[in-house]
Structures are given as structure tokens and as C-alpha cells.
Symmetry: C2
Subunit: 218 residues, 2 copies
């Protein structure tokens, strides 16, 4: 399997964390796509992923699977343990919902803020910006942090009692928030404590090392 | 099971089509939430779904599952046949990807256009609008239609050889496009032909009847 990747990207980080949780890193070859040069917006790359985003998984038969949550659906269905998308119907529904909510209310909102209300990837890549929308999304992301703080007051993990794709998505959101200097509010104590615990997981702690190895071999 | 629903809403339509495909309609009680009165933005409803969107599934034990794709993950894991989210790992990955792409590039784009660049649900509900962003999303949706037209030139269904959640999501996008008078381009012949076939499916054809029954019993 190949993964089209950008080592420090918050979205690709989600798949690298998932791969490490499932101990599948060694079965993947990483191919670096340089976001700062806009390589993800070239016709060649858009033919691989119409939406022009990273990461993309390419199977040995040439099948292309874009979107982090689609890649983890694939990985979970292929290699069961540990499961990141749930086992029972109720778990699957809740993990899927909370992962989507973490995208809508946090990760995607921070991303829109970055691309629209900051210089983003620079003027050559950010050919259209809507700053007002970007700032609105920043405020949405800050509200999202407070929502997840509330959730984590009563549960050890974002979707319940088990580490899942929903945690990985919130982690991706907080990685991106850190990049754009959107600090986690000091009074979000449950979210802070959860994030400190998450950063102790080898999959999260070593994602940069995995990136660097990927960059070196890419 | 209960579903918080709005009979003519394009998002709720996705779950009603999925229920009919799986022949589960009779096991669900529909509860109408009036979008035009902004009932989905009240504190009571936001406590059920932080994102303030329909539909939401409530299980008999009180568990709340929002987001159409999370609801169908739940339904597919609970009642297998027919499966709308895939069986093999490759199918699951591809259906998940294409369904997400249909949201990003079509359904969600039309929704943003409706809520931001048209009167939407009216001034009492649409308390913030960004028309420029809305028009951009309209243009994105029109490009999305051309993309799906290209896809359907070479396959009978959006994610391959089988009807799936990806088809349902494109159907939702075209239902919404029709509501906002965004016509399907005349030269999108493959998409037109596919949509004509989709409208012959009882699940799609009878979704309004299902809505009316739901409204009558709600």
C-alpha cells in the first residue's frame, strides 16, 4: 500500500496515528506531496483525488481511497485489531457520529480558518480566500473545543470507553489548532487532561518520527 | 427507534431512502422538527444534537445518533441486508469515500448556498449569512455535478457496481439542488440518466409519501 502524505499535515497525521495504533506502518510506503508547493492541486494529483486533499491510500491493485475516515474504514475492515471504528452497531454509529462532529466542529473549522483568514499555504496556493468566513470558523472551532471539553468530563474517550477514530479526529483538530496558534482555552481542563494522555500514546508521540522516516524514504 | 425528521429535508431524505431500501420504515417512529420555525436551533434540540442538524436517530435506550452516515453505519451493522455501506474492505473504503465526496462536492455545497446566498429558512433562522461564500459553494456544487457525471459514464452506481450510501448522498444533493432551483446541466447526460433510474426506485419515489405518513403520525 502507498499513502500520499505530507509529514506535518494534521489530516495525514490522523491516518499515521491509525496505522501505528494498528501496527501497520511497515506495510505502507509513504509518498510525499508538497502542500507548500501546491502539489495537491496539480492535475496529476487531482486525478488521484478530485477534492485535492491529503492523505490518499493507493492499494496494490491501483484502487485509490481518499478521505481519512474512508481509509480507516478500509484498514479496520481489512485488519481487525484493534478496531478504531467500533465493533457493535451502537459503537459504530457513535464513533462515526463523534468523528464527523470532530471534523465539522473542530478540525475542518480550524482548516478553513487557516486557509481563509491566515496566509495559509501562501498566495500561490490560496487563490481564493474569504477572511470573514475563516474567522467565523475559528470561533466555531473554539466553541467546538468547549463542547469536547464537556464531553470529556464524563467519558475517558471522545466516543465512550474505548480509544477510536473520534479521538484521532479531535487530536488532528488540536494538532492543527497548535499550528495556527489557536490555544486550547485554559478552563477546558478535561480536554487538556485528555490531550495530555493522548500525547503519551506512542502512535501520537511518534507521529513526527514516522513522518521523518517517511520523508527520508519518500 | 425514533427519528427526528423534517419530511421534505434533503438530509433526512437520505435516511428515509436508506430505511426503505432496508425495509425498516415500520420500525421507526418519525418525530417532526420544524426547520422553518428554527426548532433545530432550540436549546432542547441542541442538547440532542450539538450541530443542530436533522436527522437524529434515538435508540430505545435513549442513545442519540446524529449524522446521516453514522445512522446508516448503525443500521447496516444492525440489519445486514441489503448493505448500503459495503461488505468487503475495498467496498467499504470506496463507498465511504464517495459518500463523503458527494457531501463535500455536492450536498453540503448546495446546503451552504441555500443557507448563505438565498433567503434560506428566513431571517429569524439565518442569523448569519455570507453570500460570497454561498455563491462559491453553488459553483462548487455545479462542478461537482460534472464530476459525478464523469464517474457515471463508466459505472452503473456512484461507488461501483452496487447501489450504496454514495448514491443516496448524490440523490440528496440533487433533491436539494432542485429545491434551490439549481438545474442539472443539460450536457450531464450520464448523471441525468442515472438520476432517472434512481427515481424509479421505490425508496426514492415514495420518500414523499413516507414523509407525509410521518407528518400525519408525528
Amino acid at each position: 500500500m502507498k499513502i500520499y502524505d505530507w509529514p506535518t499535515g494534521p489530516y495525514p497525521a490522523r491516518v499515521r496515528i491509525a496505522l501505528a495504533e494498528k501496527n501497520l506502518q511497515s506495510r505502507v510506503q509513504f509518498v510525499t506531496v508538497d502542500l507548500w508547493k501546491g502539489e495537491h492541486k496539480t492535475p496529476d494529483f487531482l486525478a488521484k483525488n478530485y477534492s485535492g486533499t491529503l492523505p490518499v491510500l493507493e492499494l496494490d491493485d491501483g484502487t485509490l481511497i481518499a478521505e481519512c475516515t474512508a481509509i480507516t474504514e478500509y484498514l479496520d475492515a481489512r485488519d481487525g485489531t484493534p478496531t478504531l471504528t467500533g465493533t457493535t452497531a451502537r459503537e459504530k454509529g457513535l464513533i462515526h457520529m463523534m468523528s464527523k462532529r470532530a471534523e465539522l466542529e473542530l478540525l475542518d473549522a480550524v482548516s478553513v480558518y487557516f486557509h481563509h483568514a491566515t496566509p495559509g499555504l501562501g498566495p500561490d496556493v490560496e487563490i481564493y480566500q474569504n477572511a470573514e468566513w475563516g474567522f467565523r470558523q475559528r470561533d466555531k472551532a473554539l466553541r467546538g473545543m468547549r463542547y469536547f471539553d464537556g464531553i470529556l468530563k464524563s467519558r475517558p474517550f471522545v466516543a465512550g470507553d474505548v480509544f477510536s477514530m473520534a479521538d484521532i479526529t479531535v487530536i488532528g483538530g488540536l494538532i492543527f489548532a497548535d499550528i495556527v496558534k489557536l490555544p486550547l482555552p485554559a478552563d477546558c481542563e478535561a480536554l487538556q487532561a485528555w490531550y495530555a494522555r493522548m500525547q503519551e500514546r506512542p502512535s501520537v508521540r511518534n507521529r513526527i518520527a514516522m513522518s521523518e522516516m517517511a520523508a527520508a524514504s519518500g
